[in-house]
């Protein structure tokens, strides 16, 4: 993908990811999460999105990044198979045009990585949210 695409750029830890804006519904600040016992590890919990139950995936856990102290975090609400699922990130940095540079296969790795780009002076991984979330929560190891 080398054309420019409007993306929402988020930060988790030191890493940055870009999600195509058409996959993103909205961003919620300081979410109030309810933990769901017996749910998969990477599911942070559920929250009330205007009366709807929104399952929220902790991107840190999903990406196996080290845990950090809880600070103010944000939830990126994405479309997933006709429903909505949230991604818990540390920060939503910007919304902007991103052009993914050519990448080597090895860099790509996961299926949900669409490419890598430069934005705001950082290296940003462009990701496809639906693949990142998987077929269903349990499908993620």
């Amino acid at each position: 993908m080398s054309e420019e695409e409007r993306c929402v750029i988020v930060r988790v830890g030191e890493e940055r990811y870009a999600f195509p804006i058409r996959q993103v519904r909205e961003v919620v600040s300081t979410p109030s999460l309810t933990f769901v016992p017996r749910s998969p590890r990477h599911v942070a919990g559920v929250m009330n999105l205007r009366g709807q139950v929104l399952p929220v995936v902790d991107l840190r856990k999903r990406l196996n990044l080290p845990e950090e102290e809880k600070r103010e975090r944000k939830v990126v609400v994405a479309d997933w198979k006709g429903e909505v699922v949230g991604l818990l990130v540390d920060e939503v940095e910007a919304v902007g045009e991103v052009a993914a540079a050519e990448t080597e296969e090895e860099v790509r790795g996961e299926s949900w990585v669409r490419g890598v780009a430069r934005s705001g002076g950082h290296l940003v991984v462009v990701a496809d949210i639906v693949s990142l979330l998987g077929e269903e929560s349990r499908g993620i190891s």
Binding site: S29, P37, R38, R50, G51, V53, V92, S137
Partner: protein
């Protein structure tokens, strides 16, 4: 019995005949209620009443003769089309039937019937004598009205005015009640059109007024305004306003702009044998609700934009305080519209009791005509469902019940031969399970006959013999739902107007549910209807455990107890509590769910005793937060079904609480 001039033998024959005729009356009335005017039905009803009148007079049972005579007069008017079988009329007829049954029962026991026939006779007489109730299909009124008045009311309604019955009660000490009545007339006439009144305007002017005047008003004014107008007349003690009764069909198509007053004590006119009006309710047209939903939907879109704007703007450093304020406003708006959505969804909730109410009579009816004896039990009648779901399940449930009575339960003789009690058992249960509402219709009859199913399938060329031989019993039973499978017997009048099991499945699947069946030859059959529950509400007990709030569906809770230290004992490596002499396994909810424990498990807190599948389990929690009606929300496809949880609900503060499924919680624990 001394008062009758008949021998014992004659009385015996009389009783038999009365029983027969009463059956006919019951069947006929049920038909009349369900299907409306039918000349044959009316003729048969008339004949039945006539017959009983004659014989009861002959044996000297004066009360029965009087009652059936009055009944006959009403039935006569009905069959001549001079009276319309409005719900109010039919219910009086049913009451008469009940009284006749009582009389017969008392006579059979040699007792004298000691009821008061007065009020009933008056009602029947009024129905037989009052002029012109509309015989037309379409709009009709529960009220005996003159032809022109009813005509005018109908016209007015078609023009979008609302027909109200305004009852004005005058102070007993009023010296000139006719003047007050006239003043009330003037006051109401200024708000619309007075189509008629009782006493009529002429009679008012002739001073033929007593304590009460009833006005039939066509108006667009809200009820509060009408009430205020009538009450403004001096010496008016009270004003009661009712919307005039309509046929159920018309009520559904009702113009949305009903000038209803949310605070007014407006009584509902009864429909189709429905419950008497509840002063705290207002009837709302389904279309109004749908429109409200759409409007809320638009609000939701706007608030999404607002939220997005607010977040995007948040990146600007300037005007930070204002941005934050915007954010707070947006969040508040989101909460409020969320609640609005919930309330409207709740407004669509309807108790399943509405559908189940007429079943007992139906079962009694059918079982008798089929010569079967059945005990019918209903469980879970306060389960609530979304209106659209309710509308669909009515017919399927009736069909399945008829099925059970017709094909499932055997005659008493057959049952006794099979070593079963002569009375069959039919149980309809409605309950929640995980993500759904389940309705079970279980009979202890003969069960499904696999061989017969194979044969029928072969006959109808549905499957090859080889395939049929391979199929398991469960698969065979699924064949019942194939269209084309309905045997001729199922399309009998008793089983309904040819509604086959295929239609049942189609209807249920059409709303996102499913139908299953389980059967044991000789022991019985159970049909399961699984219905989507996303919009349902239940009453729940909120508890706190592990720092979180959870909801226990109230229907599964037996009781709650304070847990004192030492109340929890160890028995065979399991923790138990002794409750009312029973030993119940107990678990700490926070341990079960692997949550951080509040106390160091010395067992203090509260125990919630919940039941599932006939077994009780205790769950110890940290605090009981109270009972509440909650809207069940699906956890969504991403999380799927998590055993132990029915879904989630939004609490008053906007946070979510998970709803527990006791059966799902317990299963892994006790295995």
């Amino acid at each position: 019995m001394e008062s009758l001039n008949a021998s014992e033998e004659e009385i015996r024959i009389f009783l038999e005949e009365v029983e027969e005729q009463l059956e006919l009356l019951e069947t006929g009335l049920l038909k009349l209620e369900r299907e409306g005017t039918d000349p044959e039905v009316l003729a048969s009803l008339f004949r039945a009443a006539h017959t009983v009148k004659g014989s009861s007079a002959a044996v000297g049972h004066q009360a029965m003769a009087a009652a059936t005579h009055a009944l006959e007069n009403v039935l006569d008017r009905l069959r001549r089309g001079e009276l319309h079988p409005a719900p109010g009329v039919v219910s009086v007829l049913f009451r008469t039937l009940d009284v006749l049954r009582e009389m017969k029962a008392d006579l059979a026991e040699g007792k004298e019937w000691t009821g008061d026939l007065g009020p009933l006779l008056r009602e029947l007489r009024q129905m037989a004598e009052t002029p012109g109730i509309l015989a037309e299909a379409g709009i009709f009124f529960d009220e005996p009205l003159e032809e022109e008045v009813a005509e005018r009311l109908r016209e007015g309604e078609a023009q979008g005015l609302v027909p109200l019955k305004v009852t004005v009660r005058l102070a007993p000490e009023a010296i000139m009640p006719a003047v007050r009545a006239y003043q009330a007339y003037e006051a109401l006439a200024s708000l619309g059109e007075v189509a008629g009144s009782r006493p009529s305007l002429e009679e008012i002017e002739q001073e033929k007024v007593e304590a009460e005047v009833v006005f039939f008003l066509l108006t667009r004014e809200a009820r509060e305004g009408v009430r205020a107008a009538a009450a403004s007349v001096p010496e008016v003690l009270g004003v009661e306003i009712e919307r005039l009764g309509l046929s159920p069909r018309v009520a559904e198509n009702l113009s949305a702009e009903e000038p209803g007053s949310p605070s007014g004590a407006a009584r509902e006119a009864s429909l189709g044998g429905g419950a008497a009006g509840d002063n705290r309710t207002v009837r709302i047209n389904v279309e109004v609700l749908d429109r409200l939903m759409n409007l809320v939907g638009e609000l939701v879109i706007d608030r999404t934009h607002l939220a997005r704007l607010s977040t995007l703007l948040g990146r600007f450093e300037e005007a930070e305080e204002e941005i934050r304020e915007l954010g707070r406003l947006s969040a508040h708006l989101a909460r409020v519209t969320g609640f609005l959505q919930d309330e409207i969804l709740k407004a669509r909730m309807v108790s399943i009791d509405r559908v189940l109410k007429k079943l007992p009579r139906l079962v009694r009816d059918l079982s008798r005509s089929l010569g079967k004896e059945v005990d019918f039990e209903i469980r879970g009648e306060d389960t609530e469902l979304d209106r659209s779901v309710i509308e669909v399940i009515g017919d399927p449930i009736i069909h399945l019940i008829r099925n059970a009575l017709d094909h499932g339960i055997e005659t008493p003789e057959e049952r006794v031969k099979a070593g079963k009690p002569p009375r069959g058992k039919l149980v309809l249960s409605a309950y929640h399970r995980e993500n759904q509402i389940v309705i079970e219709i279980a009979d202890d009859g003969r069960g499904l006959d696999a061989e017969k199913i194979r044969r029928t399938a072969l006959e109808r060329g549905l499957l090859t013999r080889e395939r049929l031989e391979e199929m398991t019993e469960r698969e065979l039973w699924q064949l019942l739902f194939l269209s084309g499978f309905s045997t001729a017997r199922e399309v009998t009048e008793l089983s309904g107007r040819g509604v086959g099991l295929d239609l049942v499945r189609k209807n249920i699947e059409g709303i996102g549910g499913r139908v299953e069946v389980d059967s044991h030859p000789g022991r019985g059959t159970t049909f399961f209807l699984y219905l989507p529950l996303t919009l349902a509400t239940i009453r729940a007990l909120l508890v706190e455990s592990g720092g979180q709030v959870f909801a226990f569906p109230l229907s599964g809770i037996v009781e709650t107890l304070r847990v004192t230290p030492g109340a929890v004992k160890k028995l065979n490596r399991r923790e138990v509590m002794e409750v009312r002499g029973k030993v119940v396994p107990v678990f700490r909810l926070d341990e079960v769910l692997c949550l951080p424990s509040a106390e160091q498990g010395n067992g203090s807190g509260y125990a919630v005793l919940a039941t599932a599948g006939g077994m009780e389990t205790g769950f110890v929690v940290d605090a009981l937060l109270g009972e509440q009606e909650i809207v069940i929300k699906n956890l969504g496809g991403y999380l799927g079904e998590i055993p132990g949880f029915l879904g989630a609900t939004v609490l008053g503060d906007g946070s979510l609480a998970l709803i527990l499924d006791v059966r799902g919680l317990r299963e892994p624990l006790l295995n």
